[in-house]
């Protein structure tokens, strides 16, 4: 699997209203890699992910998956949103099975087996009959991940998947996602504004500078992931986090009084 983003730009609006949101993005993701893209709100990171998913079309440039240009959404690129994405009328198992049923390329038996397998993978095998509204936000996001994986994607796109969760649940979910990646070696692209999350999970962290969104820095991590909770307080990890924060600050100074970045031209 080779996911290739070549000089992608995205403009919203036309004429005088036109606003350049992404400028000349180049990105390459290979099988089994976990990539993170960090940026503050307004940096265009969600737009970039939506382009990768095929929900938006780049104004210029090309996105290719295994040499084939991406023209729209498809089951080879699974997507997990921040929230509101489970089908409220289906129980957890039916939610996981839904994508496979839509595609029509899985047999009934396969659907049953894969549903059970992926519910087990996210640790919810014994909760299969619950409705989404009976579940916590963390459980719902685990189901959303299981559903995306069960549909058989080549790459998993995660749009701030834990952004709506409480801090301590977020840490648990980050540990869960890392162990999931370790076990399945899935290919993933994570959008986040949480620097710790990005460094903890990804091997490659791209910084998206705003106005217009462009990749300004790329960090490669090489930590010992034996104990994630210890790693969070490891000195080289914290140093790397500091470097990342400085990189973000350098491309996007924040006015300390208003907490807003100054407007440019």
């Amino acid at each position: 699997m080779d996911f290739n983003v070549q000089s992608v730009s995205k403009t919203f609006g036309e004429g005088r209203q036109a606003r350049l949101v992404l400028k000349d993005i180049n990105l390459r993701v290979r099988s089994g890699e976990f990539t993170a893209i960090v940026g503050r709100s307004g940096s265009g990171k969600s737009t970039l992910l939506r382009c990768l998913a095929g929900l938006e079309h780049p104004s210029r440039g090309l996105i290719c998956m295994d040499g084939q240009p991406v023209t729209g959404p498809g089951p080879d690129r699974g997507l997990v949103f921040q929230n509101y994405s489970l089908y409220p009328w289906l129980n957890l198992a039916q939610n996981v099975a839904f994508g496979m049923e839509l595609q029509g390329r899985f047999s009934r038996r396969e659907i049953q087996e894969r549903t059970a397998y992926f519910l087990d993978v996210v640790g919810l095998g014994d909760r299969r009959k619950l409705l989404p509204r009976q579940c916590s936000g963390g459980m719902q996001q685990r189901v959303a991940i299981a559903r995306a994986l069960a549909a058989g994607p080549k790459v998993l796109l995660l749009d701030e998947p834990f952004g709506a969760l409480d801090l301590h649940i977020r840490a648990t979910m980050q540990n869960f996602l890392y162990s999931l990646w370790e076990r399945t070696r899935l290919t993933a692209i994570l959008i986040t504004h949480d620097l710790e999350e990005a460094l903890l999970l990804a091997q490659q962290v791209h910084v998206l500078a705003p106005n217009p969104g462009r990749i300004s820095h790329t960090f490669t991590t090489n930590f010992n992931h034996q104990d994630l909770d210890k790693l969070r307080f490891n000195s080289s990890f914290l140093q790397q986090r500091q470097n990342l924060a400085q990189a973000m600050e350098s491309v996007e100074p924040v006015d300390p009084l208003t907490n807003h970045q100054p407007q440019r031209g």
Binding site: Y87, Q103, L131, A151
Partner: protein, 265 residues
């Protein structure tokens, strides 16, 4: 009794107690009945204008025994149901399509918004010219008066389907058609049932107008005849029956909602 206690009785917290709520429900029906009993017994109003409950029940009983009541009620229910069904079969799918596709909305919204303000009763002369004086014009009249409300209310309900749910379905491999049939329609089903429940009242309202068109049997027709012979107790009796049937249908819709959409109630 302090103001505080009174305020507590009317708080929403108190309403959660089912005994208190049931008591209020009973009061809402029994108090007017009591008032009616008192006023008619005291003969404040001429009994020719305000018959006593006993007279009304007697009239009801004699109509029931002679079979008029059953004939009237079944004729009226049949008309309303056919007109309502026609309005549902046409209005609900169009409403879903209008809510889902901007093009369909642009095409149909101005027209339905315009036609909605033409009183259905004003179509009566045309319907007689086109369809004669049989059942057809009555059913079509009820359908015309209901269908535009169905379309616009269902269209509005579709707007509340979360965008994330639609986009997730697309990335799971769902086609446009599957999104409309299996996600948008399913998500809006509770609202569709509720829309139909509310618009059922509109259909009933049009019944009396429809039965002005040379009907031989029907509850509305019976009321007109009773007026001609100044039989107010019969008017009261038929009004009661109309209210009871409407109330029963309303309950049936609520039950349907509970049975089919447990996730939403």
């Amino acid at each position: 009794m302090t103001a505080h206690t009174i305020r507590r009785w009317f708080s929403s917290e108190a309403l959660r107690s089912s005994v208190w709520r049931l008591g209020l429900h009973a009061t809402s029906l029994l108090l007017p009945l009591l008032l009616w009993l008192v006023v008619s017994h005291a003969q404040v109003v001429d009994p020719a204008f305000l018959p006593s409950p006993a007279q009304v029940i007697e009239s009801l009983w004699s109509m029931a025994r002679s079979g008029i009541l059953l004939a009237d009620a079944s004729a009226s229910i049949r008309r309303v149901m056919l007109g309502f069904l026609l309005a549902a079969v046409v209005g609900v799918p169009l409403g879903i399509l209008m809510g889902s596709f901007a093009t369909v909305r642009a095409l149909l919204e101005p027209l339905s918004g315009f036609l909605r303000y033409m009183p259905a009763a004003a179509f009566t002369p045309l319907l007689i010219i086109y369809l004669g004086i049989d059942e057809a014009p009555k059913i079509v009249l009820i359908a015309i008066g209901t269908v535009f409300f169905n379309m616009l209310m269902v269209m509005d309900a579709v707007k509340f389907v979360p965008q994330e749910l639609i986009e997730t379905t697309r990335t799971l491999g769902g086609s446009q058609r599957q999104v409309v049939a299996q996600v948008i329609t399913r998500y809006t089903l509770p609202n569709i049932i509720d829309t139909l429940r509310i618009n059922m009242a509109t259909s009933w309202n049009l019944l009396v107008v429809a039965e002005l068109l040379a009907a031989e049997v029907g509850l509305g027709k019976r009321i007109q005849l009773a007026q001609r012979f100044f039989r107010t107790e019969q008017i009261f009796a038929d009004l009661l029956v109309l209210g009871l049937i409407g109330f029963a249908i309303d309950l049936a819709f609520r039950l349907l909602l509970r049975l089919t959409c447990r996730w939403a109630v």
